[in-house]
Each structure stands twice: as C-alpha cells, then as structure tokens.
C-alpha cells in the first residue's frame, strides 16, 4: 500500500484536522465527533442540511459544506457509516429551530445509523427527517432488497436541497424538492482498478490488466459485468443506455450531467467521457442544461468514472443555478 498517510487508524481524524486548517472560514470541527459543521451554522430560520456516510469519498460530503449547500457532514471510517451519535450531534449543531434534513445514501449501514439518530433526535426535541438517495441503476430496484445504491447523484441533491434551504423554505418544502431530485436522477459507474482501504492495507478486489467492471459501486462492491476493457465511447454508450432507459429520459427532456471521477482517473479522461455523453444526449434529443466534470464522489484512488443524469424542470433548474459557495462546489 502506497499512501501519503501516517498511521492508517488515524486517517479520518488527520484528514478532518487538515480540512479545518485549510478552510476555517467554511468549517469547524464538532468537538468529540467526526463531524464538520458550517462555520456560520446554525443560520436563523434556515432548515439545516446534514449529510454523511463513510469517508473515502472526498470531497463528498464535508467538501460540500458551505453557503447554498450543506450545513454539516458526518464522516464515518473509510467506507463505513458513522454511528448514530455523530448524526445526532451534527443535527443538533445546525438546527436553528426550523428542523434538519439528512441526506442519506441508500446503504444498510447509513440507513440504520441515521434512522437511530432520527429517533434519538426526537427525544432531544430536534425535528429531523431524512431523504434516501438511490440513483445507481447498476443495481436492480425492488422492495424485497435494500434497493439501488446512492452514488454521485447525491451531489445534485445537496445542491438543490441546499439552494432551497438557503431560500428560507420549510423543512417539508426542502424535503419535497430533495425527493423530487432523487426521483429524477440516475447514475452508473465503472472501474478500471481497485482501491485500498488504509486499515485493510490491500486492494478490496482485483481486476486483470485488461479487465474493467461495469456497474462498480463506490466502495468496490461488484457491478454487473466484468469484461475486457473497451474504448471509452463504447463504455459510455453502455452506461448511458442503462441510465437513460431507466426513468426513461426522452427526447425533449432537459438535463444536468455529472461526469464524476472515482479517484485515479485523470480529468483528461473525464472530458473524453463527457464528449460521448454529450453526443449521445444530442442524438436522443435530450438537451443538456449544465454539465459538471470532476471529482465529486470518489472511492479513494479507484480508477474509473460514473455518469449521472438529472431530469430538470423549471424549479430544479433555478435551484441548480442558484449560487453556492462550498469548499469543493462553487457557483458564482
């Protein structure tokens, strides 16, 4: 394992310290908890927006703390949900009395820990509710299973719910627009190489020198198919077909696109991916309103990318366009 770290068991604490040192104007640490809180929070009258999950997905989620986005993020160990007390303390720290919305990715661990936190918050007199993001079409949805995973589409939920909350909307209104976003966003990813969880010290799966995995999750969970590596255009076509056919997206739709790097894949390649994404949308008569290319929801140093497509309506467009000033998501 080659990493710029000290002791593997300290990576999360040291990362959080480094973040606060880098961005004191954006975040402060919640003493005793693996939580970063907006330096300005709580904002009087504003609904608090909290996200969280395992670490290793940076800049998600703490990098999205800032004006017009998140008020707090709880950070579990690498790829492992934080415990309920962290969620609870984060919610308490950002509640101004208007209530708190937690944006949770759909994994058993995140679901259960945040649910416990929600129940605990009730006792503490904080109104907390949750929205569950499940945008990954690689996994079949079904009421009999945990359902689809939450991946990079979550960032759209942060942006849009964050903008709504910044406008002074009520908890119900913020939750409603977050749910609308979830209902309209679909994503899928693929990986070229694994990543190494520091404390494990070795790769969490292996791929041969000429192999890739389509549908790979952001923790290295298996995807749909493992196959010989193909040209970028072919890979993008395969992902886009799954994504667009899911809602489905149809001619005339206006969408936002996010091409997200999983960690080791250079920006050069993400733009090559975006070129094909744009071509496919054009060919299908889907018009792209905004495009985001970069690293938003990573899996440590995994090589690969995900594509997210969000169907827009006038409300979502306006909220997506609203200014934001988060550590790793700025819109002037």
């Amino acid at each position: 394992m080659k990493k710029l770290i000290n002791a593997p068991e300290n990576v999360v604490q040291e990362m959080l310290a480094g973040m606060v040192m880098a961005h004191p104007e954006y975040v402060r640490k919640l003493e005793g908890y693996q939580c970063l809180v907006n330096a300005q929070a709580p904002v009087a009258g504003k609904v608090g927006l909290v996200s969280g999950g395992g670490s290793g997905h940076e800049p998600a989620h703490a990098g999205f703390i800032g004006r017009g986005m998140l008020d707090a993020a709880c950070v579990g160990n690498v790829f492992s949900s934080p415990t309920p007390d962290h969620f609870l303390e984060a919610a308490k720290a950002v509640d101004s009395g208007a209530g708190v919305l937690m944006v949770i990715k759909n994994y058993s661990g995140d679901l259960m820990n945040s649910q416990m936190a929600e129940e605990m918050a009730e006792f503490e007199g904080v109104k907390v509710t949750r929205v569950i993001v499940d945008d990954d079409v690689a996994v079949k949805n079904s009421t009999y299973t945990t359902g689809r995973r939450g991946i990079a589409g979550t960032v759209f939920v942060h942006k849009i719910a964050g903008a709504k909350a910044a406008q002074g909307a009520s908890l119900d209104e913020v939750k409603a627009v977050a749910e609308k976003t979830v209902a309209n966003v679909r994503s899928m990813g693929m990986a070229l190489s694994p990543c190494i969880v520091p404390i494990a010290g070795k790769a969490n799966f292996s791929l041969a020198e000429d192999e890739m995995e389509i549908g790979m999750g952001i923790h290295g969970e298996p995807g749909i198919t493992r196959s010989k590596i193909a040209p970028a255009d072919e890979i993008v076509s395969a992902l886009m077909e799954k994504i667009l056919d899911d809602i489905p997206f149809v001619a005339g739709d206006e969408v936002a696109v996010m091409v997200n790097g999983l960690g080791a894949t250079p920006l050069m390649e993400l733009y090559i991916v975006n070129r094909k994404v744009a071509e496919i949308c054009a060919a299908r008569g889907i018009s792209i309103y905004r495009t985001f290319v970069g690293e938003y929801m990573t899996a440590l140093e995994m090589a690969g990318a995900s594509i997210s497509v969000l169907r827009l309506d006038p409300e979502l467009k306006a909220l997506l366009d609203a200014p934001a000033d988060a550590i790793a998501f700025k819109q002037c």
């Binding site: 395992g54 579990g76 160990n77 790829f79 492992s80 949900s81 934080p82 415990t83 309920p84 007390d85 994994y107 058993s108 661990g109 259960m112 820990n113 649910q115 416990m116 996994v139 009999y144 299973t145 945990t146 995973r149 969880v197 404390i199 494990a200 969490n204 999750g217 923790h219 290295g220 969970e221 298996p222």
Partner: protein
C-alpha cells in the same frame, strides 16, 4: 450453573470480545466475498470498545450490562452491523429488565426479542443471507429448550449448533439485504459474515455453560 448472573454476562461479553478480535481478519475476508471486507474491522472495533467498557459494568444488573454493551456497539461500530449487533444486546437487556439472573426461559425470551429488533431495524427476515439466519434458529432452539425444560448447558449447546447450521445455510442463499445483495448470485457458496459472528456469540455462551 443454571442461571447467568451479572458477573457471568460480564465474562461472556469479555469472551465474545476477545474471540471476535482474534478473528478480525477472518471476518473481513468473509465480508470481502460478499460485501466490502470491513465487517471484521468494524466488529473488532466495537469489541475493543466493549473491553474498555468492562470496568464500568461491574455491579450493574444483567439487563444493564447487556444494554450498555449494546449502546457501546452502536456508538463504536458504524456500518450496517453496528446498529444490528447493538440492537441484539440492547433488546436482550431490555427484555430481561430488572431481573438479577437469566435462565433458559429468560434467554429464550431475550434472544427472540433481539431477533424481532433486528428484523424491524434491518427490514429483513430469515432467508435474506444475513445474521438473522443464525440468530433466528438459535433463538428458536432456546425456545424449544425452554419448552422441554432443558439445562442451561444443553440449551446453549443447541442454540450454538442451530446457529452453526444457520451459517451453513447462508451459503446457498442469495442476499437481499446489506452490501451482499449487490453480488447477487455470485455470492452463492459463501457464508455470511454477520451470521458467522452470531455463531461465535453462541459458541462463547455454550462453552461457558458447558
């Protein structure tokens, strides 16, 4: 021994913690076949916290011993297994209430309460290839043992054997819950890590009472 006292539960928790910590890598490897290879790290972390908690448990009623242990697991583990294992201990402790000892009948009630708690929280059931597939047969074995008036040693040996069979049974299952469900059919042949830890728990109980 037919009744477990507070001190017994403290010993059992210490034994469970030590056993789990020793098997950390093995549990990670099992989780690696179906999930994200962190279950061993996660539950070993929880067990370290349990070891640190032990001094605080001295003198508490058995229900509180279990309840505090559960809360400690919830607070220290994270992941999917944190709330679930925490719930197992918390519900068992709650079920026992203020009683100062637990015999076969109590243990049967306690672990059936644990089972219900896990099912509700995890929105899962028998056959989903989770720890429930070890916990449910163990709880059932305890109920059966209580009904026929078995000794504590017999009851816990039965529960341990049932849990072990439950672990075996998970090999053939396709997961619906937790990260394991992403592997779908590719998971056939591999046993569930959470179920394996439940078997370990009952093995510690059985060995203690034997």
């Amino acid at each position: 021994m037919e009744q477990l006292t507070s001190q017994d539960f403290q010993c059992l928790i210490a034994g469970f913690a030590a056993n789990v910590i020793a098997r950390r890598d093995e549990l990670n490897e099992l989780d690696g076949k179906l999930g994200d290879a962190d279950f061993g790290t996660s539950i070993a972390g929880g067990c370290n916290a349990l070891q640190a908690l032990l001094p605080e448990l001295v003198g508490l009623a058995p229900g509180m011993v279990l309840g505090k242990s559960g809360m400690t697991l919830v607070k220290s583990m994270g992941g999917a297994s944190g709330p679930l294992f925490g719930t197992i201990f918390m519900r068992a402790g709650k079920e026992l209430g203020n009683q100062t000892e637990a015999g076969v009948a109590e243990l049967a009630r306690m672990f059936n309460a644990s089972l219900e708690g896990v099912k509700t929280l995890g929105k899962s059931d028998v056959g989903d290839k989770t720890l429930i597939d070890a916990l449910a047969p163990a709880a059932q074995a305890l109920s059966a043992a209580a009904a026929r008036g078995a000794t504590l040693a017999e009851a816990l040996a039965d529960a341990c054997a049932a849990a072990g069979q439950g672990v075996e049974a998970t090999k053939a299952m396709i997961a619906n819950r937790g990260r394991a469900h992403y592997v779908g059919e590719r998971g056939i042949g591999h046993q569930d890590a959470g179920a394996t830890a439940i078997h370990l728990l009952f093995k510690v109980f059985a060995d203690y009472a034997a």
